[in-house]
């Protein structure tokens, strides 16, 4: 399969998953919107699970590339985080997709470990935030990346649902929660 068609299928997968009713996932619809056949999709991806993972990998790679650009112009972690919020809020389909489908399946074992997709992704993410946590070990930094991105999508979903009005105040609260935890706001 050529790269262009693969990207189109994965983009449409994210779009369809984001807009369909929860718990409904139609490869027929994806094939129609991507202007290909279901047979082509299954021939290349084998099953829905692999299709979801491939879409997630494509999205993750784009997000990390974007965050490396954001970090270059963000002197503090709060600035970096706010830049990432701006980025994902412009991509509501990504937010909906990640918040539903990335939790539907446990990750396949080959996504972990040295050289795996998750590790490559986390290592790239680690480069984005290393300057904000200079004294933290590589292993702890990987967990920081995972924690930050998970929370980023959660905040974006709250905003997109209209449950939180995106404002400088809520961004400040959000980045403080991520950085300092809930103890930052608990009365002593």
């Amino acid at each position: 399969m050529n790269e262009k068609l693969e990207k189109r299928i994965l983009d449409v997968t994210i779009e369809v998953c984001a807009h369909n009713e929860p718990g409904v996932f139609s490869t027929r619809l994806i094939a129609k919107k991507a202007d290909t056949s279901e047979g082509t999709i299954f021939l290349h991806f084998r099953n829905k699970r692999n299709l979801i993972f491939a879409a997630e990998r494509q999205m993750g790679t784009e997000l990390i590339a974007a965050s490396q650009v954001i970090t270059a112009n963000a002197p503090t972690f709060q600035d970096f985080y706010s830049g990432c919020v701006d980025y994902v809020l412009k991509r509501p389909d990504w937010v909906a997709f990640i918040n539903t489908y990335s939790h539907v399946f446990p990750r396949p074992k080959d996504d972990y470990g040295e050289g795996s997709y998750i590790n490559r992704l986390l290592e790239a993410g680690e480069d984005s935030i290393r300057k904000y946590f200079p004294s933290v070990s590589a292993a702890a930094l990987l967990r920081c990346v995972s924690f930050s991105y998970r929370e980023l999508f959660r905040y974006a979903q709250l905003v997109l649902n209209g449950e939180v009005v995106d404002s400088p105040r809520f961004r400040e609260l959000e980045s403080n929660l991520v950085l300092h935890g809930i103890s930052h706001y608990v009365e002593k």
Partner: protein, 197 residues
């Protein structure tokens, strides 16, 4: 043989929906046919009672976040320190894997990809109850901010519980305490770990 009441059938269907939607080894698009099969009824009955799959998922959602709020209120009444309070709630989420995984995938009690379409008192009631439970932790913060902190904490607990349920984090007391430490101290906790705190 008497026929089961409609209410019981609805409850059974909702329970089956949670069981399938919150399964540890999930089916990405669990079908109404599968729900009907587990419930011991027909798909027609599901649609005649709930109208659509979306409505059914929302009923299941309401059921779960009510259960979550019941638990929060019960733990709140024990007046535990914050760390213990969060550990007890984390344990509850781990002990209720189908609730936790369903809430994570389809729940409105937590951030959900789809706007809330039902207009009933259930969600407002959930918010009000959640707001009341966390009052003493954050009492000097404005109301909307208090709710924001609580939703943040509950969401992190659900995520953390899902890692333990899936086995991607080893489920030991020590590991649970680390997760709670991260929730309480945020990314700073990683720096403190480095410093041997």
């Amino acid at each position: 043989m008497s026929r089961p009441s409609i209410e019981n059938i609805d409850e059974k269907i909702v329970a089956s929906t949670i069981e399938l939607g919150g399964a540890k080894d999930p089916n990405v698009d669990f079908s109404t046919r599968a729900i009907a099969s587990v419930s011991g009824c027909s798909e027609f009955l599901i649609f005649s009672h709930f109208g659509s799959k979306r409505n059914l998922l929302e009923k299941a959602d309401v059921f779960i976040y009510s259960a979550i709020t019941d638990e929060i209120e019960m733990v709140e009444a024990k007046k535990l320190p914050l760390r213990e309070y969060l550990l007890v709630l984390l344990a509850w989420f781990v002990d209720h894997p189908s609730y936790t995984l369903f809430a994570l995938r389809y729940g409105h009690g937590l951030p959900h990809p789809n706007p809330i379409s039902y207009d009933n008192h259930a969600y407002d009631s959930f918010r009000m109850r959640l707001f009341a439970t966390g009052y003493h932790w954050f009492h000097s913060s404005p109301r909307e901010e208090r709710l924001f902190f609580l939703v943040y904490a509950m969401n992190q607990l659900v995520f953390d519980a899902s890692y333990l349920i899936y086995g991607s984090h080893q489920d030991t007391l020590e590991h649970r305490e680390i997760l709670i430490f991260e929730l309480i101290s945020g990314l700073d906790s990683f720096q403190k770990e480095e410093a041997g705190v």
